[in-house]
Symmetry: C2
Subunit: 254 residues, 2 copies
């Protein structure tokens, strides 16, 4: 049987890797990497450092080019579905051509493989296609949500209260649907549209030397976040950021 490990490597700090993740990297014969052809060289390098630091030789690294995704399509979910299916063909080829029975292949996934990452769904699709068979195991990782709240030394959850995790797109469309909201994948600063009683805890490039953190009442800090974000994005060519919005009762504001 062929075996796959889907390893969460954390949100940017190489020390976010768990002991379980390090052991999983050491157990892999082949690492599958999809090259996004983007400017995120630092991320590629960090992943390579983890493989070099924890991999057990001899291992192989197999790379493929990511299928193009139509980022202009109005139907976001449909465009993602289409891209996923083409990515499934890439993964199927990886497993069919590059992994022998008895060998272990690994996918290194930023953050936690369960949080807005497509690797698991794509591998499900590969299994459903039925052309290759494999066992797979998921190694949880530090999500950018955990990294964000840790860096701000705040809790994701308040006592006995719920929290909502959503996307920038939805926040822009639906507004604030809860008192505690984590927003991911927001390219358009949707936080600027929420009401003044929210506090924001924002972070970019979490866990890396370029990390940026801003916290405060949305009304006071939204402008500064916008500026910082635009400047960093222009300078580095990419940005990954996330934030927590928390409705604070007037009496608790300081």
């Amino acid at each position: 049987m062929k075996r796959l490990l889907i390893i969460g490597i954390g949100a940017g700090d190489p020390d976010h890797l768990t002991l379980q993740g390090a052991k999983a990297i050491a157990a892999a014969d082949v690492f599958f990497i999809v090259d996004k052809g983007e400017a995120k060289e630092e991320l590629v390098r960090l992943r390579q450092d983890l493989i070099e630091g924890h991999g057990r030789r001899p291992y192989r690294i197999v790379e493929a080019r990511d299928p193009e995704r139509d980022r202009t399509a109005p139907a976001y979910a449909a465009a993602v579905d289409d891209w996923r299916s083409r990515r499934a063909q890439v993964y199927e080829a990886f497993i069919r051509d590059e992994l022998e029975d008895g060998q272990t292949g690994a996918f290194l996934v930023w953050g936690d493989p369960g949080v807005y990452d497509s690797t698991l769904a794509i591998l499900e699709e590969v299994l459903e296609r039925g052309h290759v068979a494999f066992d797979h195991e998921v190694i949880p990782g530090i999500s950018s949500v955990s990294a964000l709240t840790a860096r701000h030394r705040t809790s994701l959850t308040r006592v006995a209260r719920p929290v909502h995790i959503t996307t920038g797109r939805r926040l822009a469309q639906e507004g604030a649907t809860a008192d505690d909201i984590v927003v991911m994948l927001d390219a358009h600063c949707a936080f600027a549209g929420v009401s003044d009683d929210f506090h924001i805890y924002w972070g970019a490039y979490l866990g890396t030397p370029d990390e940026l953190l801003v916290a405060g009442p949305v009304a006071e800090v939204a402008g500064r976040i916008r500026e910082l974000r635009a400047e960093a994005r222009a300078r580095k060519g990419w940005i990954m950021d996330t934030y927590l919005l928390r409705r604070v009762p007037p009496a608790d504001r300081r």
Copy 2:
């Protein structure tokens, strides 16, 4: 200055510890442990194993008894507030009496310190009281949410869709308020009350040798989860479990 590290140690598997967490344990002079006087000896032992495995001698372990919490009070949040204030006095005494300037104290927290854990809020209260001063840093950990979805090899989030994290109490009161819901702190199997179009991914004692996992349509597996849960709780004297509820459109059911 006195320094505190609040270290997330993961959801039960000692290998959930991150490299950052292992280094933080090695940096601590004093470990503060609150003894809950409960039957969770295995959890206490696992924490001790982590200190022995990663701590750098000489270190000290300082223990105190947890203040009683009124678990029969109808006002849950008020009862927690009261207990927190008394716990803040315990922490204040730890920091005042057991930690010298220039030393580092550590709190080891199950899962992630941001997810339904009170340590950060209690330390905030200690700072507000103003009797002791300290710097503190939070080390993120693998939450039981990440451990749960990893063990079920499923994603927390679906493409472009939100997820709701809530408590058993709220699920029982409010019903299913989203299509993807993570439920924690549920002592009363509130999942049994959701509609038949939900799928459940349930896990108990995640990451430990006693781990229990059940997945399937709620209508089919709710009874089995109830039985397993009651049996395990009676045998071990305690249970920690969590689950993901996912509404599945009829077309996608298999």
